[in-house]
Symmetry: D4
Subunit: 132 residues, 8 copies
């Protein structure tokens, strides 16, 4: 469990801020909080995502070792995200699929790539206690 | 505000997992959740941090564009973190200092570097409503 | 998500305060908090609604651009409201019906008119994350 | 008290959507959720504000009978809002001032006008139990 | 909704304190908090019930106008209470039955009598918003 | 602690319903929820109070054995109530005063009488854990 | 953080159940939930403590390795407990004193012994995040 | 109900700390918080478990009178724990089975033994109100 009032903070590179707004707000449905010349900030599922204008974006979207996302405690929230991804035809990297099948830490996963090749992973553990 | 039961998920590279455990558990005081041959997972201030064993670690700790951390809603939580950093002599990159001074989004910041040169930023906004 | 202790505040005109109490308390089932010569205040689904005695009421109930209401996160709360509207035969403007069908922001809607032609809309999004 | 997951919904006219985004996001610091050709939606202090493109905007900003806003349960949240209004030089209609002084329902109030002359009122009651 | 930390306080007469403990703790399953020569206090479903030693107990258990109890927001909590009443063979005054059937404020009710003829009513409204 | 969604239920006699509304809504500042020919219901500090029209009202207001009220967990909520009682000149039976002084269960108390001689007690324990 | 609805469960030996009730209810101020011939159960600061009638009680109260208790997140709750211990003259084993002074995990501690020589420790960490 | 921010504290003996970490972290899935030469601390289902290095461990695992564990309010959390125990082949002492069958306090129970013969009991009451 975590505090409702604190926010996790994730900062990533974006090669173009308009493109980032397009993807995160009109694609993923997150909210735009602030925008500056060199960065745009989002309320990303209750946490803070900042896209910094940068040339250092990955050449292609690769799952490991760097990515970020959300572990949903409730399966229906994962399902809703998967439906939104399908409805809005967002770029899927892998999934939805099951990982660590048959173990206690079994979970569903769905990974997307943003326009700057940052990887976003959504998960739902059968036992949310093990989502850490 | 965010849901107490979901978890933000951040995955980063680590050149050595023992070193990561040493820094995150015995340094930052986060909790070790699971450990595998190629990764170790943490309950990082209520969210999930995963260190993946990887050679792709930065050569030096650079603030932008990639970092992650926590925005504390309450100033005393930022103060406690700053004291812990001092007491345990963790490697500070910048701060504690004030950013965007005199504006509505003024906040305190303190950035650390982990042994693999990943950057961790802690913040506290004067107006937590603007922490997104 | 929002804070449990703050209240959204909506002020609207009412041509007659007794009529407003009749509609909001005995019709919609909201609670009367305070009453003055020129206004009456309600605990409207946890937020504050104030009806100001005024001649500036709309000649007829029109949906756009001005209305107010509640987005219920849980479908059963929308269902209960719809049943109350039916049982108590409140004046329905539109619905219950589905809007933005087939999109991620699909939602059910039901709009009422109060005796002063103010429009009240109740909604339930398939994905409550998109209710903003 | 109110449910953290439901949202109060307020719809108002805006003569220009860019102007509305400028005022609400870059002025008041609320978050932009969605934007369509004829409307833009905001996460307004945890509730949903929708600006509908419309010619029916008031000729001037008048406090009664129509306005909307937030009653903050904690005085420091009102103070923060007042500071932001000052720092960002938003258009103030009245206040900060005290209303109903010396009575149990005494409260501070601060009213702004948006670019389409909609009035937004922020309040803080000495006794938050009476904020309804 | 109500605050989790405050407690509603109900004080009633009891002709015998041992008998009161027997009924409330071993019958209804509430918790004994404190006991004095002239009173015993209980954590009654999260609120405070005090039984004062007194001769002024009703001659028989009568529903109106004085009684106290709990409105459960969730039907399963009412069901559990009804099962406990049956399993432990507590003295039932009326119910379980339905009141105000077919109206928006329809609810189930079950009334018990304690050994001093105080009446305790448990309720569950179809629409918990109307439980006030 | 108690559940935010359940409600404690207290039913008392009132010799006149208008008088009850006058006292509870315009005096104590509680909210009127529903009114019938023979009863009126209130949202009384988050719990449900019902005044049943009845001749069985006490001849005078007597503290024991029957009364009801609220134990506030926070001293400032007791202070606010005491100020409201003073400002609105409500009929005080006893207090504000301190009971069980010097013991662990020390608390402040303030008792009022309603127009039908029902007694309402407000309390604040130095150690809210002992408020049961 | 932990779930409000689950309960930690601690079972310990007691050489005499009346004595256990005397100590835990009338001494420590916890609530008695249920009592059987061979055990008594308590709501111990929101968790479940069970005293099993047993001869296997320690000959004297020894701090390590076995004890149980509560880590209070707020200093004032520790202070209240310390005052109650003093007021009610409960048997203190050690403290109140400070442990791990000057480190990040510095905390106050106060240990009691129950009549069966079980040890109960109350703590308050300067940084509640490190209370695990 | 209990406070989300406090922690129940349980201290037990362990003959070997590595073995304790192996069982609690990699077996039960609890999180390691801190480790010292003579003890290791865990975030045990949101409460604090401390294993003190000690020779005083029981010769065999015996249910009474000493054990500790968790009462889950929701049946699905008990089910998940039971599945993890089965999947990871943890040492079961008794259950899953039903106790106090046919009574109001009926509950499911599952007891494990750790490598130092400490007994851990997980429970789920049909009526969580009676879990104390």
């Amino acid at each position: 469990m975590r505090d409702t009032h604190d926010a996790c903070h994730v900062a990533i590179p974006a090669r173009d801020l308009d493109e980032a707004v397009e993807f995160y707000v009109f694609g993923l449905g997150v909210k735009m909080a602030r925008r500056y010349a060199d960065r745009v900030t989002f309320d990303f599922f209750g946490d803070q995502l900042v896209c910094h204008l940068s040339d250092e974006v990955p050449e292609e979207a690769v799952m490991y070792p760097r990515h970020f996302g959300v572990s949903f405690a409730r399966p229906e929230d994962f399902d809703r995200l998967a439906r939104l991804v399908e409805t809005r035809k967002l770029r899927v990297l892998t999934g939805p699929s099951v990982r660590f099948e048959g173990t206690a830490e079994q979970h569903r996963t769905l990974a997307l790539a943003d326009p700057s090749n940052n990887v976003i992973e959504f998960k739902n553990y059968d036992d949310p206690r093990l989502q850490y």
